[in-house]
Symmetry: C2
Subunit: 195 residues, 2 copies
Amino acid sequence: MARKASYHHGNLRAALLAAALGILEAEGLQALTLRKVAAKARVSHAAPAHHFPNLKALLTALAIIAFQRFADAMATARKGVKKDPASQIRAAADGYLAFARANPALFRLMFQEGQLDWSNAELKQAAAASFQHLVEITAPLAEQLGLKTQAERQELEKLVWSSAHGFAHLYTDGKMQHDATPPDIARFLLPRKAK
Amino acid sequence: MARKASYHHGNLRAALLAAALGILEAEGLQALTLRKVAAKARVSHAAPAHHFPNLKALLTALAIIAFQRFADAMATARKGVKKDPASQIRAAADGYLAFARANPALFRLMFQEGQLDWSNAELKQAAAASFQHLVEITAPLAEQLGLKTQAERQELEKLVWSSAHGFAHLYTDGKMQHDATPPDIARFLLPRKAK
DNA sequence: TGTACATCAGTGAACGCGCGTTCACTGATGTAC
DNA sequence: TGTACATCAGTGAACGCGCGTTCACTGATGTAC
């Protein structure tokens, strides 16, 4: 358990990922270089090459962990909440936003094209698992609304996902900082309850 | 009119902006440097300094033009369309997406924090004018739905903007390439018409 | 219309910097016997 | 338990590269008279 001050690091891979996340959130993607990551992990600048062939590989490894945490954030948000479709969708959207607020630069990295190696199977799987949450959560609302065709259900999924994603982007880009609540779709779609 | 092969360029500022846009869309923001912009405009690498003190200033000037075109894209889309609230909102969302599809890298630059000089009044004004479109377009739908309070109307604006923005991001990031139609909010919110 | 001169826009060489990558190396670890 | 040796992980110097920035310069333009 105790930290060994050894020549070999012990868990440099994890330490590099943690350092990369720190730099990413503190200074932005532009400032994230292999040399800085190595320096922050207190290791020579050539050391990362033993673990990641290049920056893209490191970012991809970081994004895999990130998508897992992203899915967790939504799952956790759903757990503490009533099981009716409206509450569940609100909770998932809250989880979506909470993750983006906690890691805005990471959130952008996960979605921005060209930064990650999407031929990586683990990344594809982790991302798909995240998005699956939104599909699952939309199904009960689709049923409650009486949507019959698959096209209608997909249209609703698209709306739910787009609005959660769009709000997270607008919020973290500073366009809606006065309002930290994602749009509440269910409120518009379901008949009002008596007060 | 004829291109003079003179020592002085004539309109280097505009040429630099055009070159920057080309590099941005072809190679991405990471690859956009002052030296490359100068080279693409066929000018020495020190020439841009007479027009832009640094890259951020150039990007800000580019974004100002971009927001103006962005507003135009929405205005144009609205013109060719029926005046009922649902059609107008659909058209604005289509314009939003069309702009993002035509200039995906520019679209991200316009919204991504930290890249632009938001203390620039012209930029603030151009951006605000774009967003105003969405507010204007939402008002008639809010009325048709019988939303009374300002909070309700703002909630609808938030939903309309978030879903258009989110879909544009998801689409241009390759997450929805099978489906190039923004989510149709009005379809869910208004009573179905007879077929 | 012509000349002198100030101003402006672009040139090209030079600089220092941080970057990714390579390479011979060395200390630590694990394994075979 | 002890020794020899292969493998692995991190070191530190070196490289070439593209970057932003500076600077003395020069050619083009505009204006005063």
